[in-house]
């Protein structure tokens, strides 16, 4: 039986994309970078004075046709990089109060099409071994203490990554898990696509 699975795996061949070195093969339109200018109706205030704020955007399409999706997946900001993590990056995911969308898309970067392991990006089950904590979802009282304990358990240097609109700004269902200025990396989207997450994590490690 083990031989069967072995040959099963071989028969499939390599399905992993070359992204981020090559263009994404199936980039979603929503979420992706929006192109446009001027005012539009926005339920979360992501468009004010004719400027689009990707961190607040929940990509609900209310601003169509003033703003159009480009399919570009580079909707993240990196405030600080840590070159020490160039060889490998270990992530501790923490769901502070999510709808599950960000959780699944983070898991998806470790599936065959994206295969984050080839970029030396891994998940760890304990904050003690983590280089970065990935916060998903809005603030909830019950997860405040686990979030604080996980952050304190991590060794220096460490990164704090906000995954998705809820973690960054509270999105449309709550308020952010921590203050936005405490994040080293903000990955926009509702939820962010695996391409955006992969590119952001690959970029955060410095030279």
């Amino acid at each position: 039986m083990s031989n069967l699975w072995f040959f099963n795996g071989l028969r499939k061949g390599v399905r992993t994309e070359r992204f981020p070195k090559a263009p994404a093969e199936a980039p979603p339109q929503w979420p992706s970078r929006l192109s446009g200018s001027g005012d539009a109706v926005c339920p979360v205030g992501a468009i004010e004075n004719g400027v689009w704020d990707m961190d607040k955007c929940i990509f609900c399409r209310r601003c169509l046709t003033t703003y159009e999706p480009t399919g570009e997946q580079d909707i993240f900001t990196i405030d600080s990089r840590v070159s020490l993590f160039h060889r490998s990056l270990y992530l501790y995911p923490l769901d502070s109060g999510s709808c599950g969308g960000c959780n699944i898309e983070l898991l998806n970067i470790f599936t065959p099409y994206y295969d984050a392991n080839r970029l030396r990006i891994f998940i760890t089950n304990t904050p003690r071994h983590a280089d970065a904590i990935v916060i998903m979802g809005v603030y909830t009282k019950g997860m405040e203490e686990p979030l604080r304990l996980a952050y304190e358990a991590m060794a220096e240097p460490k990164l704090v990554i906000a995954l998705g609109a809820c973690a960054i700004s509270g999105g449309i269902v709550g308020k952010p898990a921590i203050d936005a200025e405490k994040y080293n990396v903000k990955i926009a989207g509702c939820p962010p696509s695996p391409y955006t997450i992969l590119q952001a994590l690959d970029s955060v490690r410095g030279d």
């Binding site: 039986m1 069967l4 699975w5 072995f6 099963n8 795996g9 499939k12 399905r15 199936a26 979603p28 339109q29 929503w30 979420p31 339920p43 929940i58 990509f59 609900c60 399409r61 999706p69 923490l94 769901d95 502070s96 109060g97 999510s98 709808c99 599950g100 969308g101 959780n103 699944i104 898309e105 898991l107 998806n108 599936t111 065959p112 099409y113 998940i123 760890t124 089950n125 304990t126 979802g137 809005v138 909830t140 009282k141 019950g142 997860m143 686990p146 979030l147 996980a150 809820c166 999105g171 449309i172 269902v173 709550g174 509702c190 939820p191 696509s193």
Partner: protein, 390 residues
């Protein structure tokens, strides 16, 4: 409210939330308090083992306490409220409320948003076009295929089955890309509205037929894996009338909202539920696996009648209504009351709360090794169990 009435309980219990109990054709106020998960007192030699709320191996934050003498699980309790979200939905427009409803559980956004839209249409006495109804069936079945693939993929992980797990993940990603191409979003967010659905159905048949063909081979191979079957058979046996979704159908109970839906004509497509009698993790995996292939057949039939459009919401501005959908985990129910086209009240009943209770009862007497297989077989989502609409 055309399909439900307030009154005496009628038929099986579906769930309760926000001051109501739900049955297939009636809603009852002043509900009897449901059983709360409470762990037993430790006997000499037993100890409590806490797992979570934030821990490896789980998709979401959840607190699980085991009572054990070291190997057998004497008792277990599940607390889904660590990440309890209070979501404000009242006194908002239908469209604004939909944005929040979509984010109760993004992975099952189609189920939640279609159930909510159905409740609004019931309250406003709007009849959706037949093509929209079949397009919604296509969306729900695409979501079911992806959800069932994830459950089986997650069941492979604790067995160390990397090859089938990754191949299932490949199929799941292909469904996500199909949904993205059809609706613009990988999780249906923004595609369902009260009165309609926006979906491009052009590639659906080709992709789903290919997935059914590949999945059938994988499923046959998994059934031949004695190591895998040993972890599932007799693991988490439970059979009661109150079970929902695949857990009910794996115990021989034909509990399925698709059978008695008042708004989606599944019976017109020749639907009948897939039943097994094992009542264990293996039976739940069998039901989910065969439902993947069945969903592709349903999609094929529904595609011939489906179209993408949005109906007018008419002139009504007040009313109360209810909508119920068979999500991949079981019944999702919404009750809404509208005043001047604004939401005055919204109540959601999710299958995950009931399934947590079933999981707790099924886990007693098993061993630690059984835990992940059994937990995943129920397909519980904490985001929809730990949420309050206010």
């Amino acid at each position: 409210m055309r399909y439900y009435k307030f009154g005496n309980p009628a038929g099986r219990f579906i769930g309760s939330s926000g001051g109501i109990d739900v049955y297939p054709a009636s809603i009852v106020r002043n509900p009897v308090e449901g059983q709360k998960s409470q762990i037993a007192a430790a006997q000499p030699g037993e100890f409590y083992f806490g797992y979570g709320p934030s821990t490896g191996g789980m998709i979401e934050s959840v607190g699980i306490d085991f009572l054990t003498p070291g190997e057998f699980i004497t008792d277990v309790s599940v607390n889904p409220k660590y990440k309890m979200r209070m979501i404000n939905v009242r006194e908002k427009s239908i469209g604004d409320t939909m944005l929040s409803i979509e984010r109760i559980n993004a992975f099952h956004c189609a189920s939640h948003s279609i159930a909510f839209a159905s409740a609004v249409e019931d309250a406003l006495e709007v009849d959706i076009p037949e093509g929209v109804m079949y397009a919604r069936i296509v969306a729900l079945e695409l979501e079911r295929i992806r959800s069932n693939l994830l459950v089986i993929e997650r069941m492979c992980q604790p067995a160390g089955f990397g090859v089938p797990g990754n191949q299932l993940a490949l199929l799941r990603e292909e469904i996500s890309r199909l949904i993205s191409a059809a609706t613009g979003h990988r999780y249906f967010l923004g595609s369902v509205s009260a009165g309609g659905i926006s979906i491009n159905l052009s590639r659906v048949s080709k992709v789903t037929q290919n997935i059914a063909s590949q999945f059938r081979k994988l499923y046959d191979s998994l059934l031949e894996s004695k190591i895998f079957m040993n972890r599932l058979i007799n693991n988490g046996k439970i059979s009661t009338e109150s079970l929902l979704g695949p857990a009910a159908r794996a115990s021989g109970h034909a509990n399925d909202a698709r059978l008695d839906s008042q708004t989606l004509d599944y019976s017109g497509l020749g639907f009948s539920p897939i039943l097994r009698t094992g009542s264990d993790s293996f039976a739940r995996m069998q039901v989910r696996s065969e439902e993947i292939i069945q969903s592709v057949d349903i999609i094929e039939k529904a595609l011939e009648l489906a179209s993408s459009s949005i109906a007018s919401l008419g002139n009504h501005v007040d009313g109360e209504g209810a909508g119920r959908i068979e999500s991949p985990q079981g019944d999702v129910f919404y009750y809404v009351r509208l005043e001047n086209s604004m939401l005055a009240d919204v109540v959601m009943v999710s299958p995950s709360l009931s399934n947590i209770d079933a999981f707790v009862r099924s886990m007693k007497g098993n061993i630690f090794t059984d835990f992940h297989f059994n937990w995943e077989s129920f397909g519980i989502w904490i985001s929809e169990a730990g949420v309050e609409l206010e």
